[in-house]
């Protein structure tokens, strides 16, 4: 092997140390309850599965963040409001028409919304700093929350996708009492997997997908070879709207369609950052890590903290993901799989 190559691999390894550290910490956190005997193997697996499923649901929302960031460099705070809006629209329209039709109508609404955002927000704000665009999406977010609830109402609505609700118990032979698995979550996980597959195919194999990647790579170069930036933005916001719709359907059928859906986005935000804002697989892996980490932190670490410091119960899932990501940001701002960019601060 040539020395240059060797040096390269050492540099690469040195660059990866935060990842190694994170993995080691997470593994230690995972194994601690088992090792200390705080959990039986069955309970341990149950918590783990619950975390994975929650993580998949976070990934669904995080995907929307990643799509928009990749193509337009906008950090879309409004993704959660879009989830809420799409779910509300579907739930209320499904009262008057078949569900499939309502979903299609909601999709059309989201496409219209994407067009409006491009016209009214992105176009006037082109070339502004990332922070300005973030504040603009904050504005979109509360506008959409107000608008959605003003039009569709602010009660709790139901979306019935016909998913099996009753949990099943597997592995009774392996562990005492078996492991409880929610079938609904299994369906949600497969939906997320299918969505990721579809999006990757769309990005890799179609002409539009290539154009999207080109814009993500270099705005100016893409424009100079004739890719219409404005249309690309409409498309990518529409795709994000579609992802929001899917997330809204899955979350809505699980929790009911209500205002708190838009808060889900706040949970998905650290997921997108941990995975890397420019990486679609990153959103999935980040979601799984945060989902599992959060569940474990809540079940085991939270109790321990409450016990040691005499707290009013644990409840640390409120900030655990954020603090985990904050620590990670400090050593590796581009996330697990994001593109490395050098930025002076």
């Amino acid at each position: 092997m040539k020395p240059a190559m060797q040096r390269l691999s050492i540099v690469r390894l040195r660059r990866q140390w935060p990842v190694v550290l994170l993995a080691a910490l997470l593994a230690a956190g995972l194994l601690a309850p088992l090792a200390s005997g705080a959990a039986t193997a069955g309970f341990f697996l149950e918590v783990m599965l619950g975390g994975l499923m929650a993580g998949v649901l976070y990934s669904l929302v995080a995907l929307g963040f990643v799509l928009i960031y990749k193509a337009s460099g906008v950090f879309n705070y409004a993704q959660g409001a879009m989830v809420l809006f799409a779910a509300l629209a579907t739930a209320r329209m499904a009262e008057h028409m078949p569900l499939a039709l309502a979903v299609v109508a909601a999709l059309l609404l989201m496409i219209g919304f994407a067009w409006l955002v491009e016209r009214l927000v992105l176009r006037p704000l082109v070339n502004q700093s990332g922070a300005t665009l973030l504040m603009a999406t904050l504005g979109i977010s509360i506008f959409l929350e107000g608008f959605g609830q003003a039009v569709w109402g602010n009660d709790i609505y139901r979306i019935d996708l016909g998913l099996p609700k009753d949990p099943m118990i597997v592995g009774v032979h392996l562990f005492e009492g078996g492991v409880l698995v929610s079938r609904e979550d299994l369906v949600a996980a497969s939906v997320a997997a299918a969505l990721v597959l579809m999006l990757s195919l769309f990005f890799q194999k179609t002409a539009t997908g290539r154009a999207l990647r080109a814009v993500a790579d270099d705005h100016l170069a893409a424009q100079s070879i004739g890719i219409p930036l404005n249309r690309i933005w409409v498309i990518v916001w529409a795709v994000a709207g579609f992802v929001a719709l899917v997330a809204g359907l899955v979350w809505g059928s699980k929790l009911g369609v209500q205002f708190s859906l838009s808060q889900v986005a706040l949970k998905a935000l650290p997921v997108a950052i941990l995975g890397g804002l420019t990486s679609i697989p990153g959103a999935i892996v980040g979601g799984l890590i945060i989902g599992v980490g959060e569940k474990f932190a809540d079940v085991f670490l939270g109790q321990a903290l409450a016990h040691w410091f005499n707290l009013e119960g644990g409840g640390i899932e409120q900030w655990f993901a954020y603090v985990l990501v904050l620590g990670f940001l400090l050593v590796r701002p581009e996330g697990l799989f994001g593109e490395r960019h050098i930025d002076r601060v």
Binding site: L134, F143, G146, V325, L330, R344
Partner: protein, 354 residues
Amino acid sequence: MLYRENGQFKTSYSADQQLLPIAQDRWLMIALVASSFIAVPLVASDYTLRALIIPFLILAIAAIGLNILVGYCGQISLGSAGLMGVGAYVAFNLTLRVPQLNFLLVLLLSGAGAALVGIAFGTPSLRIKGLYLAVATLAAQFFLDWAFVRVRWFTADSPSGSVSTNPIELLGWTLDRPVDKYLLVLGLVCLLTLAAKNLTRSHIGRAWMATRDMDVAAEIIGVRPLTAKLTAFAVSSFYAGVAGALWGFVHLGSWEPAAFGLVMSLNVLFMIIIGGLGSIIGSFFGAAFIVVLPVLLNRLPAAVGIDLSTAMRSHLESMIFGGLIVLFLAIEPLGLARLWAIGKQKLRVWPFPH
């Protein structure tokens, strides 16, 4: 006609660099301050003071604080309400545990406490910026939210996490009428505004603005990014802490941890976007706007004869806020303060266009 500066010659550096170089501005400011101290207490009803003027003044302090960080130093923060909460809980614990302490000292200490927490949560700004920093401050907000609910010591073991305060006493002066509270808050607002205005004109403020405009260039001309950023975080958090303590003690009286949640953070951020980033007077405009709009929405439809439900009003409110934020960012990124400056300039050169 009246707003002319003909004949006002500056003959010394200090005259040239004074806060309000135009004589009419000075007179106007003196009249404004005098009328707020003398006329407003005589004229305003208790309701106006309690529901409009006091919240406006307190939120203006918070907005000035956030404006120092976001508008002057360019470090975006979504955690200002958390720091207001720190101020409120420090004040609560101090009055509870050290009751003989003067309330002004309590305010000072709650500002200092918030400043310490702000510095701690501001350190990531030395490594990351832009939206990543927004996430870091969001982490601070959520962590503080959680701490206020869960750590029993903060709330003095109150079972629901809500705390209530006694009327403020200041050197034998019990502040139980809205007028008394108004005068206290007004005095503090005047002091803090003057301090902020002068800070932003000093070398510290110039270091903040240099960091905001281009951090690399600022570093090259000798601005230390570490001190610039951390002083911005400290000063901003100090203002937030004082505002939070006042919000809890003077405006709310008793509060639950949710009073200092993310919604409040976003509201303060909206104030400075609508009012004007990087402008002290803009903070006042923004605070006034955010306080008055809900009241208007309460009154106006009823006056016209349309009956709106409470929920509908709050939805309309967020639609208007959201729309305005996008509008301001797109059309007038410097907010109401910029419109004010344009108006003044037009008046100066009237009837000529330039």
